[in-house]
């Protein structure tokens, strides 16, 4: 026993000495010192997403977005604080697990990164954000949509995507426009699903819909017949699902098998090709939403898609453009602050006004994207078809509002003319009244349009 004790002590010490030595070979922190003559600074950006596990394909997509942005920045040859800047990406894997997320975050803090892009999942982003905040390292996520991430009061936490509150609200309003009166809400009891479903419920009730059933499942379930049968008994006209495609698809299918005629609606978790693969015909004609706007509708969208597919020989999965923008916003802030020091450039992130691929990016005091847009899509013939965009303050939306207003003025003018010809001379007085009303309406429309334009410009 005695001999054993000392052996253990020695071997433990030796093991750690060894492991520590092994670790020393890791790249050291960025050397700010530059060779004389041509100063160059290496800026390290951490990127975290699950590279393994069921969401690995999304993680790789995020990383590609960051890689593309960094290559472009390096090609451009930015100069910050009088030195040439070279960006370097430290990509890490958190396997979508909160505990591993914290370990990886610590690793990045140790490596003294200048900023962090990510993480992908809200579940890992939230615990990691505390570590970054403690270390004063700015963090911009391109995909964590849980409202809590920015509600913790950390000055270092930002996101370039609409959050679940905004999305749930938009979906609730959209449901109200579908001509249904009763809805059933199902969520998968994950942070994402429950958050989205709760916001949807609030918005739907506020828009005058009646929530007749609230049911639950979990993110590993395959059988939904019991809860669907219950929903059937309430005769709900629409079923909202807060959760992912792997459950949503089979759920839509089982609805059909049970003879439920209600429509199916979901958030970004089911707005995927996978959902249609798993749900088959049952998905046809139903709706879902994605934060942001479709690339095709964005000024720089198609160009980005082309660059991306050319470089990686892969289609954009989901969030790559947002991650790309997140990197760009960080670089832009460094440039404006003329420093790569997190302490110095962090305030500049808050004042960002960056015309990115996905939107005109501005942050509110919490670090959330101002006026994030939500787009609605419809499943049609095995494809997602764009329907409309709700919310959002981008220039494009403002322009569309102006155009609508101008159109309504034109209509008003036409109506005046029509009214004038239609009525006879004996009814001139009446016609005048009618014309007056129409003109008044037209003027109001013009005024609204002006307001909208003004608002858009102010926001810009």
């Amino acid at each position: 026993m005695h001999a054993k004790l000392s052996v253990v002590a020695l071997s433990v010490a030796a093991a750690f000495a060894l492991s520590a030595c092994g670790q020393k070979e890791e790249p050291k922190a960025a050397a700010p010192a530059a060779p004389a003559g041509k100063p160059e600074v290496v800026v390290k950006l951490g990127h975290v997403a699950p590279m393994t596990g069921p969401q690995a394909h999304l993680g790789k997509d995020n990383e590609n977005g960051a890689v593309l942005a960094i290559e472009e920045l390096n090609a451009k040859g930015l100069e910050i604080g009088g030195a040439k800047v070279k960006f370097q990406l430290l990509a890490e894997d958190d396997a979508a697990d909160p505990k591993q997320g914290a370990i990886v975050a610590q690793k990045l803090v140790d490596a003294k990164v200048n900023g962090v892009i990510g993480h992908l999942n809200s579940g890992t982003t939230i615990p990691a954000s505390k570590l970054y905040s403690d270390a004063g390292i700015p963090q911009i996520s391109g995909s964590a949509t849980n409202p809590k991430y920015t509600q913790q009061g950390f000055k270092t936490a930002f996101r370039v995507m609409a959050n679940d509150v905004q999305q749930g609200r938009a979906l609730g309003e959209f449901a109200a426009k579908q001509g249904v009166k009763t809805v059933a809400v199902v969520d998968d009891r994950t942070a994402y699903g429950q958050g989205l479903a709760d916001e949807f419920k609030k918005a739907a009730e506020a828009s005058g819909l009646k929530v007749v059933a609230t049911e639950y499942t979990n993110d590993k379930a395959t059988d939904f017949k019991a809860i669907l049968t219950k929903i059937k008994s309430t005769k709900a006209e629409l079923v909202f699902y807060g959760g992912m495609d792997a459950q949503g698809g089979p759920m839509a299918k089982q609805m059909k098998e049970l003879g439920i005629k209600a429509k199916f609606l979901g958030g970004d978790g089911v707005c995927t090709p996978e959902f249609m693969k798993l749900g088959g015909e049952a998905t046809e004609g139903n709706f879902c939403s994605l934060p942001g706007q479709p690339l095709e509708k964005l000024a720089k969208g198609p160009e980005f898609r082309e660059k991306f597919t050319k470089k990686f020989n892969a289609e954009i999965q989901l969030y790559a453009p947002y991650v790309y923008d997140a990197v760009m916003v960080m670089a832009d802030s460094m440039k404006r602050a003329d420093s790569v020091d997190p302490v110095k450039y962090l305030p500049a992130i808050g004042q960002t006004k960056y015309d990115g691929v996905t939107a005109l990016i501005e942050f509110d005091p919490q670090g959330d994207l101002k006026g994030g847009a939500i787009s609605i899509y419809q499943y049609k013939g095995g494809k997602l078809e764009y329907v409309e965009t709700l919310g959002g303050s981008s220039v494009a939306t403002a322009k569309a509002e102006v155009k609508e207003a101008v159109d309504s003025v034109k209509d008003a003018a036409k109506a005046v003319a029509g009214a004038a010809t239609a009525v006879g001379k004996e009814a001139v007085g009446d016609a005048k009244e009618a014309a007056k009303d129409v003109v008044k309406a037209g003027a109001e429309a013009v005024k609204n349009a002006a307001d909208a334009t003004k608002a858009a410009v102010e926001k810009k």
């Binding site: 000392s6 590279m51 393994t52 596990g53 990886v104 505390k130 403690d134 942070a191």
Partner: protein, 353 residues
């Protein structure tokens, strides 16, 4: 006790003490991430020793141990976070957490006293799931646990003004948060080890052993098996509760997904792999199983690159594959665990003949 005064063992203890004291600084050379991994390793040592009381000493197969850990973690989270606006000090929360976990232990123990072996395993497993599912759903109608969203901004451990998060200057050394937690955890772990050692050779410990070996005989010699079994559940659960509290404070965030069945199974694997009922073995098992996946994380990718020049198999799946294989192989060749107690080893050899 006199054997501890033997100069050779005193030397051994001194060496361990020095190694334990210096360890985090050595690990910190490789980065704070390694210190954090060490912290988790010690937390698992703590948990495994707690479970060892139930499984190793008393021989009650508990597959829901993580429930007590969850109770402790949520107690801390609720009493020291903005969720209810409470910020109680550690010496209030930890005893409450341990007490609640202890109560949960008795709650689980009392209806299952009659059950044996596999029946007990499935019931404890169910209990673990019940606790997790309640934590996941108690956000309505009254918001208690905040449901799947979890609880954020949990206070770190603090004694007065001395906080365990963030870096502080101590004796001219700059000591980071994870290192401070390391010492706290080592202190707690030593406490548990001492309690375990004392228990093992006490009347209670012998009673547990008697129940483990033959419950009917134990009853026949006048052991109150009911109370003694409940005591095992309660003690194991209290340790789980304390570990949970420290976990919540260290992470600053708890959500139900940290308390899945897989975690229970992991802790059980640590106990069995190391050597059930044998304290040094359990410690070894806990350290190995918590550090092995991390070492594989750092090792598998680079090793493939060095051997084949490219990634043949994605490191994460290979990591878990190696982990699973390790479990099978160790059990295959050392069925009583890596470091079984001498009696156990002897029994096995006899049984094998």
């Amino acid at each position: 006790m006199s054997k501890w005064l033997n100069p050779r063992s005193a030397f051994g203890i001194a060496l361990i003490a020095v190694a334990l004291l210096g360890l985090p600084f050595v690990a910190a050379m490789g980065g704070q991430a390694w210190v954090r991994i060490l912290d988790f390793a010690i937390l698992y040592v703590f948990l495994a020793l707690g479970l060892n009381i139930v499984v190793g000493f008393a021989g009650l197969l508990d597959l829901g141990y993580i429930a007590f850990y969850a109770v402790g973690a949520y107690t801390w989270a609720l009493l020291a976070s903005p969720h209810f606006g409470l910020h109680l000090p550690i010496w209030v929360i930890l005893p409450i957490g341990a007490g609640l976990a202890c109560f949960a232990g008795v709650l689980l123990g009392s209806p299952t006293l009659k059950l044996r072996g596999d029946y007990l395993a499935i019931v404890t497993l169910g209990f673990g799931e019940i606790v997790r599912i309640f934590m996941n759903n108690l956000n309505a109608p009254v918001n208690i646990t905040n449901g799947p969203q979890g609880i954020t901004l949990i206070d770190p451990v603090a004694f007065g003004d001395f906080r365990f998060s963030g870096t502080s200057q101590l004796f001219g050394l700059s000591v980071s948060g994870p290192i401070k937690y390391y010492y706290l955890l080592v202190a707690l772990a030593i406490l548990v080890i001492v309690i375990n050692l004392r228990l093992q050779h006490s009347r209670i410990g012998r009673a547990w052993q008697a129940i483990r070996e033959d419950e009917i005989a134990a009853k026949a010699v006048g052991i109150n098996t009911r109370n003694i079994k409940l005591l095992a559940f309660a003690m194991g659960a209290s340790f789980g509760g304390i570990a949970g509290g420290v976990f919540a404070a260290m992470q600053g965030f708890v959500s139900p997904e940290s308390f899945s069945l897989m975690e229970s199974i992991m802790i059980l694997a640590m106990v069995v792999l190391g050597g059930m009922g044998h304290i040094p073995g359990v410690i070894l098992g806990a350290v190995l199983l918590s550090i092995l996946p991390e070492v594989l994380r750092y090792g598998v990718g680079p090793a493939q690159m060095a051997l084949f020049g490219k990634m043949l198999v994605d490191p994460e799946s290979l990591r878990m594959l190696v982990f699973g294989l390790a479990l099978v192989l160790v059990m295959r060749f050392k069925p009583a665990g890596l470091w079984p107690s001498p009696e156990r080893k002897r029994e096995l050899q006899e049984a094998g003949q």
